[in-house]
Symmetry: C2
Subunit: 259 residues, 2 copies
């Protein structure tokens, strides 16, 4: 089992180190991650400029590659030939913030996993709910154990093509995590506000501010599971078609539109 | 009807001008678009830096706002208070390249529309298949007519909440377009290849190259419709859950994983 590890916080992020450690008991680990933070930067394919790659050493001595591309570029680099062999699984994270509900299309952590799924490789995105107290360094030890065990269970199975799992872990000590729930994507509620200020030269600038996103903690959803102390595993797919609207739209008057 | 027009190619792109013109018969048009090209840059929310906005004048005298944010940031700016009133519809494009199949999560054109749908506004992304001959300027005149008529038909209806349509237009003169098809997302096939070169100092760099994406032109899909000369309208949603995998995953051995 050859496992490519990436993230969206940068190659030296502690969450990446925790994930690389977690994967080591499951197979050979390769790390390719961005050289800087790409949070909320979405699904990127860098075509208009070249990408640089350099070898770096993580805090525990692991050799890793760092790239100036986005998380999804790092996955593309790994799957298209930067690594000396075939990758069997791509994992992304551990993101120090949950990726729930509508977060998935913004999330560098999740879109890195999407990139793998588009290339036909199974992929898992791991995110840890952020703690209430942000003054202390984040403790990834429980999330590291969960990531190892979740990935182990997933790779025991014959996976559907393009298998893509979005895993969110509550910010709790391991013994307080209640278990695992298989969930659907819930409804995220953003509290963004536009802040208008004047710069030192009197020119206006705008900053997207406001409160942290909340969500509807409905039973059966990712948000509901994490809110109740469970690890949430949401299987995702790349077909965004609103299949239930196709018949509705077919009933509209399109025939008059073109010659 | 107040219509916010954006794109991912930049505020001075001819496709944006065509779309703004197309919308003018349907309502009041406001333009907020990026100051540079963001193609294949995905769904971005710029939180870590301020956004600048400046007033510019398009080639036909239209007043527009240009921002250094991504297409989705432009939509957020418009919906969060940069504009003097409520927006009723967000349109994005006309992109001078189709956005079919798996392109949707990469596409700045489509993710700008997604941003609107997340905020509860109906949104339509418009893309024009690129011509075979790229030496001539792209002719948006047929696509402009199609965009106007498609948007007119969509706004005639009570739209489902979060309504999001991905419209792809074949590169044909208006009289050769065969009609409109309501489609599902097809299977895109990428032909990316990693090109490794040495820079003038002998240091390697990598470039994602390879052929243009193709796709499986299956009946009923966006790719099939455009390939046969039809305008494709795919209703999209923001729930990426693979609902058909939930029961499968529930059958796996998760109970042994956490205490």
């Amino acid at each position: 089992m050859r496992i490519l590890v990436t993230n969206d916080d940068g190659v030296f992020a502690p969450g990446l180190l925790a994930l690389a450690r977690a994967m080591r008991s499951l197979g050979e680990v390769w790390v390719i991650a961005p050289d800087h933070n790409w949070s909320a930067s979405g699904h990127v394919k860098t075509l208009h400029r070249p990408l640089r790659v350099r070898e770096v050493e993580l805090a525990d001595g692991t050799t890793a590659y760092s790239s100036d591309g986005a998380p999804s570029d790092c996955v593309a680099l790994g799957l298209m030939g930067l690594l000396p062999g075939e990758v069997d699984l791509v994992v992304s994270g551990i993101n120090p913030n949950s990726n729930l509900g509508h977060d998935v299309t913004y999330s560098g952590t999740v879109t890195a996993a999407m990139e793998a799924a588009i290339s036909g490789k199974p992929a898992i995105a791991f995110s840890l709910e952020s703690p209430e107290d942000l003054s202390e360094p984040i403790d990834f030890s429980a999330a590291e154990r969960v990531a190892e065990q979740v990935a182990a269970e997933i790779i025991r199975h014959d996976l559907p093509p393009g298998f893509l799992a979005n895993v969110n872990i509550p910010c709790l000590p391991l013994e307080q995590i209640k278990g695992i729930k298989i969930t659907r994507q819930g409804l995220r509620i953003y509290h963004d506000e536009l802040v208008r200020r004047l710069d030192p030269r009197g020119v206006p600038y705008y900053w997207i501010g406001g409160g942290v996103p909340t969500g509807v903690p409905e039973e059966g959803t990712d948000i509901g599971a994490v809110n109740s102390g469970y690890v949430s595993i949401t299987p995702l797919k790349l077909d965004l078609t609103a299949h239930d609207q196709i018949d509705l739209l077919k009933g509209w008057k399109w025939q008059d539109i073109t010659p």
